[in-house]
Amino acid sequence: MKLYPIRGGIHPEYRKELTSKKTIVALPLPLALYIPLQQHIGAPAEVLVKAGDLVKKGQMIARSQGVVSSPQHATTSGRITAVTQVAAPHPSGLPQTTVVLEPDGKDEWADLPEPFADPFSADAHAIHERVAQSGIVGMGGAAFPSAVKLNLGTQKKLEILLLNGAECEPYLTCDDRVMREYPNEIIDGARIMAHALGTPRVIIAIEQNKPQAIEIMTKAASAFAEIKVIGVPVQYPMGSERHLVQAITGRETPARKLTADLGVVVHNVSTARAVHHAVRFGRPLVARVVTVSGRAIREPKNILTPIGARIADLVEFCGGFAQRPESVVNGGPMMGQPLASLDAPVVKGTSGILALTAEEINNRPTNSCIRCGSCVTICPCGLSPLDMAAYIRKDNLEGAAKLGVMDCFSCGSCSYVCPSHIPLVHYFNYAKGMLKDLENELRKNDRVKNLAEVRVIRIEKANEAKKTALAARKPAPATTAPPSNTGETKAAPPTPEEKADA
């Protein structure tokens, strides 16, 4: 099959050999599990349990709220000890509401939903429902609720289900290992998803630096004519959804559109496996494979981890630190986020935990930009990082926005190549946050203005009504309310129109 080139990109040192030969091993149950209510993009789940409750593995402990949301499940059997604020796996280290579960050691499954005997004759809607109820989110890192993406077939004509096994981030080998060890589960999950989406073709894209995975997956897929396994060039960021679609189909997803608008839906390979578990066995997403690597880790491993295990537990299981890490990163080294604390839990989107030494990170003091243009050449989005960063440095966020800073997806290629070690991506992350803040502020100001106007109109009306009432009763000397307390009559609930404004 013909592949199409993608723009720019880099070839970092992949360092996957640290864990690529390590078979997946299960983490022994830790003393406590910390299951955050929000592990996905969208609204946080609504908690269903309280301290003291006994739960079984796979029991729903928080239900989804709204369309873009996802439920959470107990990842083992045990007792809920608290629903409290715990540091999130996030660079800020800010807390979020988290269910604390003390395992009883039995690891007993709850009564699970009935498995689908024949998913391929099942209604697509029933499969969406099952995936949504199983709390499955994109496991490549973005953690977007998978059921929402599986529903796209109802709105759009879809051609291809593209399973993303590119795993273009250095160090990470969790998808590689899952593909090598559970190929049939992935293939089955992919077929179920294709059925639910109504796509006639399935393409599984794997970067060519994983020859064993390509071989094993090709063999597993050989029984199904509609599934094709493709080795894609090793080029970071090949695993970016839009770039992978371009490499496979040659088509560029327009800005502010989805790949689904081109008829292609992209899911991660591990997500397909989770769908297989949910549909064939009724098991919700309660565990995932996490690559724990980096030269500061004594024994790097691929670990099957119950959701909610503390990162410190994983590090300990890997023999602790061989040396003091410069940074501990949640995810891959290119797009991953630094962790503020090792007490944060593993969540559904955690693909890797990397303890990196200063030599591995190889950062240096920032120098002046010499306009070498490397960042422009390699930017896979066709942006001009040096100019955007120059604007942002002078707080000209509007200028940066005009140059497309909001189109940047922080792949990190520019910071990687910059000979002056300018923290380009950091500038863009800052600008994106500031621009979003400004947008929110403007939206709030609009709302405030509406509310203020509505209030003025209401007060005027009330005054007028009073005047007319006064005029009607003119003969009798009026002793009505003093004219000053115009506003208080409304006091309690806002009128429907005001609610709509809010």
Partner: protein
Amino acid sequence: MLVAVVSLTVMGIVLGGLLGVAARFLAVEENPLEEELKAMLPGSQCGQCGYVGCAQYAAALAKGEASVTLCSPGGKAVIEQLAKKLGVTADLSEHEEKGPEYAFIKEDMCIGCTRCIRECSTDAILGANKLMHTVIVDVCHGCGKCAKVCPTDAIIMIPVPVTLANWHWPKPEVEQEQNKPEVAPAH
């Protein structure tokens, strides 16, 4: 020589006349600037800028008498809009110190007098006579009018907290370090 003098004089007269005509026919009737500025302000008439209401502040801005950084409920977004409209650079340093705030009612001190409810221009306070009041944080824009009228000082203004939902990376610090020697005083 004469040709040059004459031709230049004629050109000057013609072009000057054209300009005069243009000024008369294309004149801007009124000053829409004030209206535009008013539309940018929150419109809650809180008076924190030191003017009676938003319209008065807008008028002062249009005349160039007021600084663009006075509207604290509007926040940075409004300051930047105003600055852009007026073509001035906003000095945000003053504003930075005081981030967005919202009103918080200490419920044990509230006597349910409803004065704050009457004062609130965005209907952000819920409650009734003799009952405790609460603030709908999403609608409160932090003007602080309610805090001023509260007879028991039960209302305090507190900064909007940083959460996972609104946190973002701060500006990278590298440049500041490099620049330090530059600002060292010469004497």
